[in-house]
């Protein structure tokens, strides 16, 4: 069947966008509850300290309703990024190693107390009083994970006396061959140490929460999270509260990028609501966000590649030290997943690696878009480029020799369902003008040197079989022939509601305009794991497809009765049910649906469908990235002139959305590569870059002069209508492509992110002195 799509593949604007254009869309900081109090958090001043807090003066301040510290909390250890995301292979859960308020401060910014007051100013005044009334017993602290793993380092958690809660090794399908032999058989071995930096997600809506508890003890939490259902379960556990009495409401979310995989303000806000029995609102300042949230987990990576003379990869070893933070959260998975992306990308017969996770007295390592993939490719694709230069090969041709094809084992251990990475490479190279520009300083001058560089990647569509996977969806028809699509994948700005509406409309044969999404409340929706791992289109998309197919079946059965036909002889198009052999014989979906509900035929029911889906496959999105840069050899400053991302995300359900994801990925990847530099003060452990002035995300003038997104748009056999994931791929290879282009321009490279002008200048000087 090669039916022309009516909704899939179209550049359709989702309904939400109109509300965002008018200011009507409500985000958590916009929520106002009757009689609400304001919450504020007191953060530790010290990186590692015991403390006692005298609440007397704060409590006496008029307008202060309650003050809480560790003593007031349930003392049930929890995991801010939700322990119940078991790694399906091992069954291991994430560690629960923190309390709602700290028993001991483990980083500068660790929440140690909180207040609720009648207004924000009073809450702030109470925090100032409390701050003066904390007695700290300052302990020795450790910032760098390599120091934290040395014998004699300060112990951050008693249960982990060596600060090393977890080590990871590659899964069996990636620990293959014989490394020693592989390197010995290689014609060229390249290796280096790389620093993969702490990148802050920098979503504009700060972490925030509103919580209320009613007289039936039902807790309602407004939270900008990405994983509402697992979050509800974690809340239930940390407060020992039945989950049926918790409703997590996720309104519009002002950007996520992985940060909202952890709860930050929510547990404290709920605690204040439980204590005061009043609604409480708690909104972080941007500085609190910068200094306390789970950012992209930083790593020290040692990467080593062995290659044959013809550029064939023969051995790869990756050893990672992961910078965990005061609690482990998502960092527990961060190093292991790096090994999976890194070892899983290219075809290579001899591979192995290791990862050590360290507790440190710093804010936490969490997840950010790509989760380990941008980090590991920063190292691997620089080494690939270096090997090309040393072997006298062209990176485009050499990369094509090492890419995996359909049927080979993917990073997840499953067979690759589809990959068009070679198309990405060829199309991208053509668009950037690779042949005309590589190694030619084309358009450059003596001091403004130009070059081109590339990188590639393989990612995932959901986390199967590594983590829990499961999404559900419901479709119900209204009597006007429209349908409600009831889902809860989260809505962090990815237009997923719109894309899922296109899937539903395609199956149902009605217009996307007639799909109304109901989402954002755990108590009204089926379980959905949420938005992470580029999964929503691939997994929830299938759940929506199944729900729509069920509803379609019910609709056709009812229409068949009305038309005195058999359901198999009917089809639906443009909101009309018609007889395939006699298209003139038809009835509108609206009439069928209305008759089913109001027809009083004695067989009344709402036409509906339910779909639950667990993918037992994982179709990898792939991509190739090409940068053209101009490097000022007098200042070391790099300007990205052109950037091309060519992405294989299967069938693009909405090409406009796919472009938007990838264009945004370029901004974040360019920031990761060139401008975003998170710095700790080594003397105190405090964040030295706690705002947008000192932590620079790219503005419009910092972007490439031209950004081109190429969508390969070839359907995958397993994705819904052929779609694969696309959220994270947008930024994975941006930084290494830029670095390789810089090397092409000026012949030097740096291995620490971000690429700073002073590091380029230093490298140029060293090169000149040789």
């Amino acid at each position: 069947m090669n039916k022309e799509f009516t909704a899939v593949g179209k550049r359709i604007t989702q309904k939400d966008v109109v509300l965002k254009a008018t200011g009507e869309a409500i985000f958590v900081p916009d929520v106002k509850l009757q009689g609400q109090l304001w919450g504020k958090i007191l953060h530790s001043k010290y990186a590692h300290a015991k403390f006692t807090i005298d609440k007397t003066r704060a409590l006496a301040l008029p307008g202060v309703v309650c003050v809480i510290t560790y003593e007031d909390t349930p003392k049930i250890p929890y995991c801010r990024s939700f322990r119940d995301m078991p790694m399906t292979a091992s069954g291991q859960l994430q560690h629960s190693d923190e309390f709602i308020l700290a028993d001991k401060a483990r980083f500068v910014g660790d929440p140690i107390a909180a207040v609720a007051a009648v207004d924000e100013k009073t809450a702030e005044a109470a925090i100032e009083l409390l701050e003066a009334d904390v007695k700290y017993e300052v302990l020795p602290f450790v910032i760098d994970p390599r120091d934290a793993l040395k014998p004699g380092a300060p112990v951050i958690h008693d249960y982990s006396p060596n600060n090393n809660p977890v080590n990871s090794t590659p899964p069996p399908w990636l620990a293959i061959g014989d490394l020693e032999k592989g390197f010995a058989e290689s014609d060229l071995v390249v290796e280096d140490n790389f620093y993969c930096s702490r990148q802050i997600q920098s979503h504009l809506e700060t972490q925030s929460c509103c919580a209320t508890v009613d007289s039936n003890n039902k807790i309602t939490v407004y939270s900008p999270n990405q994983l509402a259902h697992p979050f509800r379960r974690e809340l239930g556990k940390m407060f020992n509260h039945p989950v049926g009495k918790i409703n997590v409401v996720t309104p519009y979310v002002g950007g996520s990028f992985g940060c909202r995989l952890s709860c930050h303000t929510e547990p404290i806000c709920v605690m204040l609501a439980l204590k005061t029995r009043k609604p409480v609102k708690l909104v972080n300042s941007k500085e609190e966000d910068f200094t306390t949230i789970d950012a992209r987990t930083p790593h020290y990576l040692h990467a080593k590649l062995g290659l044959k003379k013809d550029g064939t990869l023969h051995a790869m070893e990756l050893n990672v030290t992961t910078w965990g933070g005061g609690y482990v959260s998502r960092a527990m998975l961060a190093g292991g997943i790096m090994l999976i992306w890194g070892l899983g990308h290219y075809r290579c017969p001899n591979m192995n690696g290791s990862c050590k996770l360290a507790y440190t007295n710093t804010p936490l390592g969490g997840a950010m878009r790509g989760f380990g993939n941008p980090e590991v490719m920063w190292g691997i694709d620089q080494l690939m480029d270096r090997a090309c230069v040393e072997l006298g090969l062209d990176p485009v041709e050499m990369t094509l020799k090492n890419t995996k094809h359909a049927g080979e084992t993917c990073n997840t251990g499953l067979p690759i369902e589809s990959t068009y990475i070679d198309d990405c490479i060829n199309e991208g190279a053509k668009a950037i003008g690779w042949k005309e520009k590589r190694g030619k300083n084309k358009g450059g001058t003596k001091t403004l040197k130009r070059g081109v560089g590339m990188s590639t990647m393989t990612h995932c569509s959901g986390a199967w079989p590594l983590l829990l996977e499961h999404s559900g969806a419901i479709i119900k028809f209204n009597e006007d022939g429209s349908a409600n699509l009831i889902i809860n994948p989260g809505s962090p700005g990815t237009h997923i509601y719109g894309s899922l509406s296109q899937v539903a409309a395609e199956v149902l044969g009605i217009s996307v305009d007639d799909i109304y999404v109901v989402a954002g409340e755990t108590e009204k929706t089926l379980f959905d794991l949420g938005s992470h791992a580029s999964r929503s289109m691939y997994v929830t998309g299938h759940a929506v497809r199944i729900a729509a197919e069920e509803a379609r079946k019910e609709l056709l059965a009812y229409a068949a009765k009305m038309l005195a036909e058999t359901p198999d002889d009917l089809d639906i198009k443009d909101g009309q049910v018609f007889v395939k052999a006699n298209p003139g014989k038809k009835i509108s979906v609206a009439k069928v649906s209305a008759t089913a509900i109001y027809g009083a035929r004695g067989d009344g029911h709402t036409i509906s469908g339910k779909g639950c889906f667990v993918p037992h496959h994982n179709s990898p999105p792939t991509a190739a990235y090409f940068a053209e840069v101009e490097v000022d050899t007098e200042t070391g400053v790099t300007k990205v002139l052109n950037f091309v991302s060519a992405v294989d995300c299967g069938k693009a359900i909405n090409p406009m959305t796919v472009e938007g994801q990838c264009e945004g990925g370029v901004q974040q990847g360019l920031g990761y590569g060139l401008t975003e530099d998170y710095v700790f003060n080594p003397a105190t452990g405090a964040t030295a870059t706690g705002n947008f002035t000192t932590y620079k995300i790219p503005g419009a003038p910092d972007m490439p002069l031209e950004t081109k997104i190429i969508i390969i748009d070839k359907p995958d056999p397993k994705g819904p209508f052929g779609a694969k994931g696309v959220g994270e791929p947008g930024l994975v290879g941006i930084a290494p492509a830029i670095m390789n282009a810089i090397h092409d321009a000026v012949g030097v490279r740096v291995t620490d992110l971000p690429i700073k002008p002073e590091a380029i200048l230093k490298a140029l000087k060293e090169k000149a002195s040789k």
Binding site: V17, G23, D30, H203, G254
Partner: protein, 154 residues
């Protein structure tokens, strides 16, 4: 603290309200007038999310005292559409896919309104320079610039 009377217009409607002298325009708009379409992010003038128009000129509402708006005409995102008809900038943003999470969008659209009022046919470079102080983390600015051009041509 002693409150003062503030007379100003917001989206064409005259207001006479009592405000504390240290309150910012952003706090008054969001908390007192419930105009939550104006966002707040960095609250220190670095990101542009709180941009509103004051007598037609873009201002950071987080860094402007409410009393400085005395006798002025304020335009917030809620005032951009007229009589149920979306403004051409809103239409441009919607049609070109320039809105993702939507948190920077109100400030960004008002910034572009100020630009188009000054310069009805800006080049890509002029748009890029004008929105330099408005951060967006989702779009890479590509479709925002497309939307501004589409609005200029509409």
């Amino acid at each position: 603290m002693k409150k003062e009377i503030l007379n100003f217009k917001v989206n064409g409607t005259p207001y006479e309200i009592e405000v504390e002298p240290q309150m910012t325009l952003n706090e008054v708009l969001r908390e007192q007038l419930n105009l939550t379409g104006t966002k707040i992010s960095c609250a220190e003038g670095e990101c542009g999310a709180c941009t509103v128009l004051v007598d037609g000129k873009p201002e950071l509402s987080c860094s402007m005292l409410a009393l400085a708006a005395r006798d002025k005409d304020i335009t917030t995102i809620e005032g951009l559409a007229k009589d149920g008809e979306l403004h051409k900038i809103q239409k441009g943003f919607i049609e070109k896919g320039a809105i993702q999470c939507g948190f920077c969008s109100p400030g960004m659209m008002l910034m572009i309104k100020a630009l188009l009022d000054e310069n009805p046919n800006p080049t890509k470079e002029e748009i890029t320079a004008y929105i330099a102080g408005n951060l967006c983390r989702c779009t890479g600015y590509v479709k925002i610039i497309d939307a501004a051009k589409a609005a200029a041509e509409a």
